[in-house]
């Protein structure tokens, strides 16, 4: 197939509209009578052709659009299928390949906004689909071809966050030949992984594992490293972001970048007030446990309890944190198998942990509370009774869980290995979670045994609480600065969960790693490589085409009142030498604020004109 020249569509030519109604398999077809909707579309004004496709986005669907444009000389195309947020570019490109300006295409959403939300009312859903198409056709009749401006892309990247994700993304971009600014707020690279002892599956030291990555980043000529630094402001749009970075004790650095990768990572949830955390000695989170292992400062242990899903899955947060089952299983095996090696702690018998190793992540007031509480504990109760046990003796590890999520190939095997190594897995229900308390100087866990239907209790030396990953405290600030959304739980939200998992909806900004939800190192590195390759596309191309979506002032209607200048959030309106308003096209983002404000109706928003929007409203409101 050859690319056809884009036809010059005469704005005065009578519209010849083609309507393509998609079944989307049974996603739409199962809940909307699609053939009848396509038949109905044929009755709408200026519609010369209408059909239904099993999948309009599949090759034969796209071919039917191209053929329709040629055979029926269509000068407007309406596709009624899924959401424009994912599929508009595909259909627009298809129209262009058949010589139709992409602004003569209209998208009608009859899946997300119709068939999927009215699954039990086929008749009404069908009625609604007809209505939505009627609106789309009314809009299509008024569409005009538009020319897009080419905007140069600065071939420099910015990566925010110097953990595994950020480093991987920065290095990938650097290896592709693009200069990259890597901004890390801490004084060294490595992020959350610096807390960890050994890593699951490989059982290698975390520090050793990421060392080569850190070295490569430091050695790369293309990576400009900014430690102890934060991004202070970001202005602009894809290809042209003006970034200000602030470093401790140094002057702000201003730079221009073309694309941005966000890899700001996550924190561990602090289970304040849960399971005796901060109340009794030797109760730690999973990460605190890792830090203790890494520093070889664990107390002597005979009985260890892990409690899973502390604060997650419908308690403090709604989601499953994905990694904690596997981390707990790894540590359980470590304790049982590798006790001596891992701890080397005969001399440390009876130590009570009194430093909180994750201080940087805990707000000051919480730290203060913890200090006070600890002091009180020590003053009133004295140290816990020394546990007289050598490392050679049998160690009991019990993992209290709601379900074990040992997904995938390796983790299931590790889970089996833990069971073979006599790690006990005891199930609890959310209604009846285990309880942690002190009996004299002895830390105890009581629980209801779901299989035996009996209340049980056991003495323990340490309780490890598996708490979920939570978003960074400054996620909101960051999301406002970059104009990118957060999901319900506060994580950064990708453009599409399946099809665009590392893009933000905003062009030119990409996301990877644990700032978009819990992930392990493998997953974070995969996402980072993906985000880097996505970010490289516009930089390699060297330009992007700016959507023709700006305001246009009609000189004849404009009275020069200046209201639009006041309301424009981007300073994109100004007065010309005649005292009338004009749009600075390069600065205009097309929000339409000015258009809605203009008292003279002198402002038109390209591709979202008053006439088009009013026609849509009129189409659905008029009596059939």
């Amino acid at each position: 197939m050859t690319m056809a020249e884009t036809k010059k569509t005469d704005p005065n030519e009578k519209p010849r509209i083609g309507v393509y109604v998609c079944h989307c398999g049974s996603n739409i077809g199962g809940f909307v009578d699609v053939p009848s909707v396509a038949e109905y579309a044929k009755t709408l004004p200026d519609v010369v052709y209408a059909t239904d496709n099993l999948y309009t986005c599949a090759e034969d669907g796209l071919t039917s659009i191209r053929e329709g444009i040629r055979k029926h000389n269509l000068n407007r195309v309406v596709v009624a299928s899924c959401t424009p947020r994912t599929h508009a570019p595909l259909f627009q490109t298809t129209c262009e390949s058949a010589g139709l300006n992409k602004y003569l295409f209209t998208f009608v959403n009859i899946r997300e906004h119709c068939s999927w939300v009215h699954m039990k009312e086929k008749e009404k859903a069908t009625l609604k689909a007809r209505d939505l198409i009627k609106m789309g056709v009314a809009r299509a009749r008024l569409l005009m071809p538009q020319e897009e401006e080419k905007v140069d892309v600065e071939p420099t990247g910015l990566v925010i966050g110097g953990g595994v994700s950020g480093m991987t993304a920065a290095l990938s971009l650097a290896d592709m030949g693009f200069p990259v600014h890597l901004v890390e707020k801490e004084g060294e690279l490595g992020g959350f992984v610096r807390n960890l002892n050994n890593l699951y599956v490989t059982e290698k030291s975390a520090t050793e594992t990421i060392k080569p990555l850190i070295e490569k980043v430091k050695a790369s000529k293309n990576v400009k490293l900014h430690l102890n630094s934060q991004v202070k402001s970001v202005e602009g749009f894809i290809g042209n972001y003006d970034v200000v970075m602030a470093s401790k004790g140094a002057e702000d650095i201003k730079t221009k970048v073309g694309t941005i990768v966000v890899a700001t990572g996550a924190l561990e949830f602090v289970p304040e007030g849960l399971y005796g955390y901060n109340q009794y000695p030797n109760i730690v989170t999973l990460t605190e446990f890792e830090i203790l292992c890494k520093k070889k400062s664990l107390p002597s242990l005979k009985n260890v309890a892990f409690i899973q899903c502390v604060g997650s899955r419908g308690q403090k947060v709604s989601y499953c944190s994905r990694i904690c089952c596997n981390v707990a299983i790894k540590n359980a095996i470590n304790i049982v198998d590798n006790y001596e090696n891992m701890l080397g702690l005969a001399e440390k018998n009876g130590t009570i942990i009194d430093t909180v190793p994750v201080e940087k992540k805990v707000p000051d007031e919480i730290l203060e509370r913890r200090r006070r509480r600890r002091g009180r504990e020590r003053g009133e109760e004295g140290e816990a009774e020394e546990v007289k046990l050598g490392p050679s003796e049998k160690i009991e590890v019990t993992v209290f869980n709601r379900d074990v999520m040992a997904y995938g190939v390796e983790h299931e095997l590790t889970y089996n290995k833990a069971r073979e190594h006599r790690v006990k897995f005891v199930r609890y229900t959310p209604e009846n979670p285990p309880k942690v308390f002190m009996e004299g100087n002895q830390l105890m866990v009581s629980y209801f045994h779901e299989t035996l239907k009996l209340d049980r209790s056991m003495p323990v030396d340490m309780v490890v609480l598996s708490t979920p990953m939570v978003p960074q405290l400054d996620t909101r600030e960051m999301s406002q600065m970059l104009k990118v959304p957060q999901g319900q739980d506060g994580w950064f939200l990708e453009a599409h969960v399946k099809l665009r998992p590392v893009d933000f909806a905003t062009d030119g900004i990409y996301v990877c790693g644990t700032c978009k939800g819990p992930a392990d190192i493998t997953e974070a590195a995969t996402q980072a490589a993906a985000a880097a390759s996505r970010a490289a596309i516009p930089m390699a191309k060297g330009y992007v085409q700016a959507e023709a979506l700006t305001s246009v002032v009609d000189d004849i209607k404009c009275s020069g009142c200046g209201t639009c200048i006041q309301v424009c959030p981007y300073g994109a309106m100004r007065k010309n030498d005649k005292g009338l308003a004009e749009t600075i096209v390069a600065a205009c983002k097309g929000c339409g604020c000015c258009g809605a404000t203009c008292p003279e109706m002198a402002i038109t928003m390209t591709n979202y004109t008053d006439a088009q929007l009013l026609a849509e409203a009129k189409a659905t409101l008029e009596e059939v």
Binding site: T83, H113, H118, E123, P485, P569, G592, G595, A596, L621
Partner: protein, 154 residues
């Protein structure tokens, strides 16, 4: 409440007195339209009487659009935008908020219950909030009954 000049009910609803409400929803492209998409992806069921018009920003919703909608017989108009401080276009939603407050007063003067116009913040992650908003607003509109325009009270 007069009952003359009842608009046509939908064909299949023969025998049901109350006509289906007509609700127009303006969704901003970046937050609320995405929130509505998420509701769909999550298969959150809701009453099928609303029709969505996509605009880039809730601030694009010219007061004229709302007034024309009521003039043409809409029973309710919902404007959905990004949460305060989350607007894709810096602060368009603040202008929307002021505009809708004024419009509510205005439509009251034309004999419309101000509850027929509603502004709601729905983020891209709030599929459930979109569903809840549609259910609540549909109920409100059903309670208020057909628009005074449709009833011919003019």
């Amino acid at each position: 409440m007069s009952s003359e000049a009842q608009p046509q009910t939908t064909a299949h609803a023969t025998g049901v007195k109350e006509p289906d409400p007509k609700i127009l929803v303006f969704c901003c492209n970046w937050c609320s339209y995405a929130g509505a998409d998420l509701a769909g992806v999550s298969r959150l069921q809701m009453p099928p009487y609303f029709r969505t018009i996509r605009v880039m920003c809730s601030a694009r919703v010219d007061p004229e659009f709302v007034l024309r909608a009521f003039q043409r017989g809409a029973d309710g108009v919902l404007v959905a935008g990004c949460h305060p401080a989350d607007c894709h276009y810096i602060g368009g939603n603040y202008r929307t908020r002021r505009r809708i407050a004024l419009l509510k007063m205005l439509i009251q003067q034309f004999g419309f219950d101000p509850d027929r116009l509603r502004l709601e913040w729905v983020s891209a992650g709030e599929g459930e909030k979109f569903q809840k908003t549609i259910i609540e607003f549909t109920n409100t509109i059903k309670e208020l009954g057909p628009s005074p325009m449709a009833r011919g009270d003019e």
